[in-house]
Symmetry: C2
Subunit: 371 residues, 2 copies
C-alpha cells in the first residue's frame, strides 16, 4: 500500500489492470487525473430528472429500483462524471424505524422523537425487509453501469439523522435537538446509538449489494461546538466506519472506501480524520490547502467548490475550479493532486444550468489530465 | 498603551480612575475579571420584554427612543451584565435607503435589489434625517445608564445587509445573492459600496451620539468561500472600521473600540483580524484557543458559548462556561484571560429561561474574579 501510494502512475501498464480512477483517489493511490463527481448530480437541475418526476413523486422514485436506476444514470450519461451515486435520500430508512416521512418538498416527519419512550419505540430495521428497493436498485445500477464508473452508496450520519428525528424536519437553530443533547444526554445517547445501529446495517447492506464506496452525509454536524462534536457526533461515525469495513471484508470487497462528509466542520476538521474514514468531504467554507494540512496525509479529501459558483459565467467557474485544484495541490506544480476528488462543497443548486455542471467535469479533466 | 497592557491591574488604585471593564477588555488592557454580556440580551426570552411588546410592535419599539431605552435597560437590571447594547435591528437603516421592511416575525423587504438600476435607486441616507430615533435612543440610554455600564451601538455589516437586500429576507442557500456576486460582480460591488457608505455614516453617528463601542454584525459572512470573503466581505468592513475610528476621534472619543462579529468564520478567521477591528466576535463552531491563536495578539476576542447550552441544566451550563474560559486562557492558570469578553456565540434563544442567562453572568464572574 505504501509503495503503491508513492509509485508514479504509468498509464501504459497500469490503466487496464487497476481499480477505477475514483476509487484509487479515495485510497490515495496514483491517478492520471483528478476524478470528479457532483453532490446531488442526480436531481432537479436536470430536465430529464424533472421530466421523470412529472409522473412519479419523490418517494416513489426512491422506492422503485427501475426509477432510482434511471435517475442515478442520468448524470453519468450527461456529465461523464467519474462516479455514480445512488439516487435516494438520507431519510429513506426512517419508515423502517417507525417514522413516516413526507416531502413537500422539504422533509416532514409524521412524529418527533424527544423523550426516552419515543426512542424506545424506534426500531433498528433490517434493511433487507424495510428497504429492499434500495438494495435492488444498487444491483440494477451496477448491472446497467457495467463497470463504466463505480457506484457510491450512502446514508445520513447518525447525528444528522437524529437531528431530523428530533426536529421533525429542517431547522434554523436546532433548539429541540440541542435541548435533548444538553438537557437529557442519556436519551440523546440512546437515540444516537439507535441511529448508528440503523445506519451501520443499512450501509453495510448497500456494500453487500454492490456499492463500491460508502458515503456518510453529516450535514448538520457543524451545528455543534467542537467539544460537543467529539461527544455526540464522532463516536457513532467511528462505529459505522468500523462496521461497514467489517461487512465489506466479509463480502469479499475489503477495499470499499468510506467517505465522511461533514458540513461546517472548519472549526474541528482535524477530528474528522479520527473517524477512520478514508475520505473526508468538506464544504466550501475553508480553503482546501488548510483542510489537507489539518487532516494529515492519511486521508483523501473531497470537495470543495461553492455550488453557487456554477450560477456565474464560464470564466468565474473556471477560476473557481482552478483555485480548488491549486489548493488541493498545496499551490505546487500542475496536474492532479494525490488523494483529491473534485466535487462541490455541497449539493448542486436546483437553478444551475446543466451545461455548467458539464463544464465543471470537462474543466477538471482539462486542468489535471496529463500535466 | 503598551505599558497599560502589560501592567498588572491594581483595583485599589486603578478601578475608579480608568475606563469600564468591558472597554478595557476590548482594548486588551488589564482587567480584574472577564466582562460578560449576551448577544440579544434584550429580547423575547425576557418576560418584561414580552410584556412591553404586547402593546407595541417590533418596529415601533425600535423607533421610539423611550421604548428602545427601556428594553435596552431590561437585561442590565435583571442580569447585571457588563455592557448594554442598543435595542434595535440591523435592518433599521433600510427604509432610509429606500426599502421598507416588515417583521412577521422574520424580516420581509418590500422589494429586492438585483439589478444595477435597483442599486442606483438606493439612497445613502443621512442617519440624522432617517433614523434620528436611534440617535435619540442612544442619548437617552446613556443618560439613564449614568455610567453604570458602557453602551454598545451596532449595525449590520455591508455584506449581511446586502444579503437581505438581494434575497428580500432570510435564505437557506443565498442563491440570489451569490448569483449576483458571481454573475454580476460589478453590480455586487456597487451594492456593497452603497451599504458600506450607509453603515459607515450610521455607525459613526451612533458613536457621535454617545455609543461607547461600535459593533458590526456580519451574520452571513460565513456563507462564502474564504477567497470570496476576501473579495466581497472584508474590504467594506475595513473601510467602516477606518471611518468609524475617524468619526470617533473627531468626536473626542478616539478610544471607541470596533467589534466585528463574523458568523461561521472558522475557515478564514485569520483574515478577520485584517479588518482592523479591535475585537473579533466568533460563533461557537470553533474552540476559542484556536481562535486566539489564529487571530494573533493584537485583537481581543468575544464569545463563544453555544446559545443552546443555556437550554441545559445548571451543571451543563457551568461546564460549558468553564470550557470557554479555559480555552480563552489557552488552558493555562485561572482567573481572567486578557482580551477576552465572554458572550454567547450567537443570539440567546427565545426559549431560554431568564434565570439561566443570569447564571451565565454570575458564573463568569465567580470563575474569573480575583483568581
Amino acid at each position: 500500500m505504501a509503495e503503491s501510494r508513492s509509485a508514479p502512475f504509468d498509464p501504459a501498464t497500469d490503466a487496464a489492470s487497476i481499480a477505477p480512477l475514483f476509487l484509487r483517489a479515495c485510497r490515495r493511490e496514483p491517478v492520471e487525473r483528478t476524478p470528479v463527481w457532483i453532490m446531488r448530480q442526480a436531481g432537479r437541475y436536470l430536465p430529464e430528472y424533472r421530466a421523470l418526476r412529472a409522473s412519479h413523486d419523490f418517494l416513489t422514485s426512491c422506492r422503485t429500483p427501475e426509477l432510482a436506476c434511471e435517475i442515478t444514470l442520468q448524470p453519468v450519461k450527461r456529465l461523464d462524471v467519474d462516479a455514480a451515486i445512488l439516487f435516494s435520500d438520507i431519510l429513506v430508512p426512517l419508515p423502517g424505524m417507525g417514522v413516516e416521512v413526507a416531502f413537500n418538498p422539504g422533509p416532514q416527519l409524521a412524529r418527533v422523537v424527544r423523550e426516552e419512550r419515543d426512542v424506545t419505540a424506534l426500531r433498528v430495521p433490517d434493511p433487507h425487509e424495510t428497504t429492499p428497493f434500495v438494495l435492488d436498485a444498487i444491483r440494477l445500477i451496477r448491472r446497467e453501469l457495467a463497470g463504466r464508473v463505480p457506484l457510491i452508496g450512502f446514508a445520513g450520519a447518525p447525528f444528522t439523522m437524529a437531528a431530523y428525528l428530533v426536529e421533525g424536519g429542517g431547522s434554523k437553530s436546532f433548539s429541540a435537538l440541542k435541548r435533548l443533547l444538553f438537557g437529557a444526554p442519556a436519551v440523546a445517547d440512546h437515540l444516537l446509538e439507535t441511529c448508528a445501529s440503523t445506519v451501520a446495517r443499512y450501509l453495510s447492506a448497500q456494500v453487500e449489494a454492490g456499492a463500491q464506496a460508502a458515503m456518510l452525509f453529516d450535514t448538520w454536524a457543524g451545528q455543534l461546538a467542537p467539544a460537543d462534536v467529539r461527544r455526540f457526533v464522532l463516536p457513532a461515525v467511528r462505529r459505522i466506519v468500523t462496521e461497514v469495513r467489517t461487512a465489506a471484508a466479509a463480502a469479499g470487497t475489503p477495499d470499499v472506501p468510506v467517505i465522511y462528509y461533514a458540513g461546517e466542520a472548519a472549526g474541528w476538521l482535524e477530528m474528522a480524520a479520527e473517524t477512520g474514514a478514508d475520505v473526508i468531504g468538506v464544504d466550501w467554507r475553508m480553503p482546501l490547502d488548510m483542510a489537507r494540512r489539518r487532516l494529515g496525509p492519511s486521508v483523501a479529501v473531497q470537495g470543495n467548490l461553492d455550488p453557487a459558483v456554477l450560477l456565474g459565467d464560464p470564466g468565474v467557474i473556471r477560476r473557481g475550479i482552478t483555485r480548488v485544484l491549486d489548493e488541493a495541490r498545496g499551490h505546487e506544480g500542475r496536474g492532479s493532486a494525490a488523494g483529491h476528488i473534485f466535487n462541490l462543497g455541497h449539493g448542486i443548486l436546483p437553478d444551475t444550468p446543466p451545461e455548467h455542471a458539464r463544464l465543471v467535469v470537462d474543466t477538471v479533466r482539462e486542468l489535471t489530465e496529463g500535466a
